[in-house]
Each structure stands twice: as C-alpha cells, then as structure tokens.
C-alpha cells in the first residue's frame, strides 16, 4: 500500500547534484507541483534528462528559471530562450539528442540494455564522438543508455499500489522514465482504490513506483 506523501517530503529526498528525469512534453504531462517545490527548496547543481525545457515559468522552465540545472540532456530547447541563454553563457551544459534516440536511451537504461543502435543522426554533428556499429552492412550509431537517481513523473490516476494511468499526450516520456530511475516519484491527479484500474488499463505497474504525491493539494 502506498499512501500519498507530502510534496515537500518527497522533494526533500532529492539531494543537490542528483540526476533527475522529468516527464512531459512542452509542459504537458509534467509533475508541476514537484517542480515548484524543487524551486522552493532551492535545489541546485542538478543534471536534467527530459524531452524539452518547455517555456519560461512553465513546467521544466521553472527549474531553468531558478538556475537549478547545470547539465541537461534534452531534444529541444527552442521554446525556452532562457535555456538558450544559459547554454551560450555556459551556465548550463546542454547535450542535444534526437527525440527518438532520447526515448530509446531512457528505455535502454530501464530495460537493462547496453545501448541503442539507431540510424538516426548518422553523418550529422550529433554523431560526433560516437561509435558506429556495422550490422549486416548497415551502419548504426551506438547511443548510451540513460539512468537517473530520481524520476519525477506525472500520471492522471494511481491506485494505492501505485499502478498508473496516463492521459492522451500527457503520457510521452513518463512510462519510460518510471523504469529508468533508482527512485520514482509520481504526481497524480486522482487516487483510486486498488482494483479500480483493470489489468489491461495499467500503463505502469505499481511495483515501479516508490512515492506518490497528489497534485492540486497546494493549488
């Protein structure tokens, strides 16, 4: 049984210097309350793995605004001028990764695979310094798996075992990150009694979830 815990207690577990994965795509499917609390607790020196940095003041943008992130692995920062500014000012080390490659790298980390062999980015600057592996005459980039100390993810519903359901495009990287971090904290809109999500509707099994925080409690 997993009772939701206080958002401040959840965030207090995350040490400065940690590597965090944060779910979401342009702020959609992002654990907003957890991120606000990260800022309130003045976390710093974090490594971020996420699809994008949303916009200033929105979702992951809040972490950027507050200068909590010193390194990030993301696929897109075009909607956040502050991330670009920090990158150019060398306040933040930004590693750009193709979105599909990023998704597979996170998955590989969580699935115990040694890496990803993808044709994407071959011949581009994003392939620089990376090993090319020949498989039956075709070339593939070897991309490293990604893991994190903490995954901060967002789901619509959890039951009290932590079984999760995501909603529409708010799913995105969340189920992948739930597999790839040592400690997984999920922010949910609604708690359901165990048994109210049928086995075929569970997107992420509760055994992967360490802590649950309920959204809207502070709103």
């Amino acid at each position: 049984m997993k009772q939701p815990i206080d958002v401040s207690d959840a965030v207090a577990m995350i040490p400065n210097g940690a590597t965090i994965m944060v779910g979401g795509f342009m702020g959609v499917g992002t654990p907003d309350q957890l991120l606000s609390e990260m800022v309130r607790q003045r976390k710093h020196n974090l490594t971020l793995i996420a699809n994008d940095t949303a916009r200033p003041a929105v979702g992951i943008g809040k972490l950027i605004d507050a200068g909590t992130i010193t390194k990030s692995i993301v696929s897109h920062i075009g909607t956040n001028p502050e991330t670009q500014r920090q990158m150019i000012a060398e306040e933040q080390d930004v590693e750009l990764a193709p979105q599909g490659t990023l998704a597979e790298r996170v998955r590989a980390g969580g699935y115990g695979l040694g890496g990803v062999l993808t044709p994407t980015a071959i011949g581009t600057v994003a392939a620089e310094g990376k090993q090319v592996i020949d498989v039956d005459g075709e070339s593939f980039l070897l991309e490293r798996p990604l893991k994190a100390d903490f995954a901060l993810i967002k789901a619509q519903q959890a039951d009290y075992y932590g079984n999760l359901q995501y909603r529409l495009t708010a799913q995105n990287f969340n189920p992948l990150m739930a597999m790839a971090a040592t400690t997984v904290i999920v922010e949910v809109d609604e708690m359901l009694p165990v048994g109210c999500i049928t086995p075929d509707q569970v997107h992420t099994p509760g055994v992967l979830i360490d802590y649950i925080v309920k959204s809207g409690v502070l709103a």
């Binding site: 795509f25 342009m26 702020g27 959609v28 499917g29 699809n51 994008d52 949303a54 916009r55 993301v74 696929s75 897109h76 920062i77 075009g78 909607t79 670009q84 990158m87 150019i88 930004v94 750009l96 990764a97 193709p98 979105q99 599909g100 490659t101 990023l102 998704a103 597979e104 996170v106 998955r107 993808t118 044709p119 994407t120 980015a121 071959i122 011949g123 581009t124 600057v125 994003a126 619509q156 995501y166 909603r167 529409l168 495009t169 708010a170 799913q171 995105n172 990287f173 969340n174 189920p175 992948l176």
Partner: protein, 215 residues
C-alpha cells in the same frame, strides 16, 4: 490565400488517402486544413497520438496537444502512446510521410532545419528521426529568407540527416531531388522559371515544359 497557405495546399496534394502523416510544427501544421476529411488521412503527432483532427475550440484539454504544445482535437479512432512507440512508428518505416519546415536544402536534397550555430539553438527535437525514418520526406518552406536563397549548392548550416528529402515545396516552386540534382517540376502561378532560378543558389535542372502548380 497567403504564401504559407499556398505551400500547405500544394503539399496536401501529395498525401495519399488513408496514409499516416506527421506534420512538423509551424507551416507544415497548416497542411491538414487542405486535406479533405473523406481522404481519411491519419495525422500523427510525435508527442504521442495518431488521429489528430477536428477543431479543439471549446473542447480543449491540457493533456491533448501537438508537438508544439498547442491544443488539438482527436477524431474517433484516435490512439495515444508513449514517446518510444511514437518514434518506433517513425524510425521503423511505418510513417508514410513527414512534412517539415526547412532552413536550407542543398543540391543533393540534404536538409538543415535544426540549428543556427551560435545564434539559434532550438535542438533537433524529432526532426532527425523523422527525416531518417519516414518513407517520404517533404520540405515545406518559403523559397527565400529575407531575400537570401535557402536552396543552396552546399549547406552552410549543420544538416539534419544523411538521408535526402523527397520533395521541396515552396511559395515559388516544386523541386525534386534526384541522382542528377534538383529537378524543377513546377512553378507557382504567375511565377516564371527565371524568377525561380534567380531565387535559387543551387543549380536547378529544368526539363521543359515546367508545369504550373495547381492551386
């Protein structure tokens, strides 16, 4: 009709009924408006949905957006999934077509559309996977930017992929990269071949007679 809608309308003619199509953010998004509902085209958004359509106005949901973060509608029969599956569709060759914006295209058909080093660093997002994996890649862009040619002999910006695009649709012309180079297939109404050549730095192969875009 403005320039962008004109490009979108011409691109729409390339779409096969019943196919699976990904539209990049910005100009390419407009293409959907020019595809009749009866064509039963399935639009994918790489953030995790097939079946974009209809108008979200008055039915907005913060958990249903496109890759640009804007609200979208979903047609009956839509399907949602995670990012790994979404790019499995793209990389695995299941996507019939992608329509992407472009900063530059070179004489072989290589696209540059994700970075202006030192100036604008948006990141590649899904672009590298889309160009690498989609069965057909169409670039939809204005022919020039602030008077400068965007179709060049050689790229000055980092390329998006080793894979060459299949078609370039601009406000002035439709151009097809092939082994011999860039073939000028069509010009826009009231635009001459010479005007297109003048606005293009790359060599264009002109096989007369060049058709006029049917808009």
């Amino acid at each position: 009709m403005n320039i962008k809608q004109r490009i979108a309308q011409r691109v729409a003619q390339e779409i096969t009924p019943g196919s699976l199509v990904n539209l990049g953010i910005g100009l390419p998004t407009l293409v959907a408006q020019h595809v009749p509902v009866e064509a039963n085209v399935f639009f994918q958004s790489e953030n995790g949905v097939i079946g974009i359509g209809g108008f979200p106005e008055g039915m907005e949901n913060p958990s249903l957006t496109d890759a640009g973060g804007g609200y979208i509608g979903a047609l009956p029969g839509a399907a949602a999934f995670d990012s790994a599956f979404s790019f499995g569709l793209i990389r695995g060759g299941h996507l019939d077509m992608t329509v992407l914006g472009g900063l530059q295209v070179d004489e072989q058909g290589h696209l540059a559309n994700w970075i202006i080093p030192g100036k604008m660093v948006p990141g590649m997002g899904g672009a590298m996977d889309l160009v690498c994996g989609a069965r057909q890649v169409i670039v939809a862009m204005t022919h020039t930017a602030k008077g400068n040619a965007k179709i060049l002999q050689e790229l000055t910006l980092p390329k998006t992929s080793d894979r060459c695009v299949d078609l370039i649709v601009t406000d002035l012309a439709v151009i097809k990269p092939c082994d011999q180079g860039l073939i000028l297939l069509e010009v826009a109404p009231e635009v001459s071949v010479d005007e297109v050549l003048a606005a293009t730095e790359a060599k264009l192969i002109v096989e007369h007679p060049v058709k006029v875009m049917a808009l």
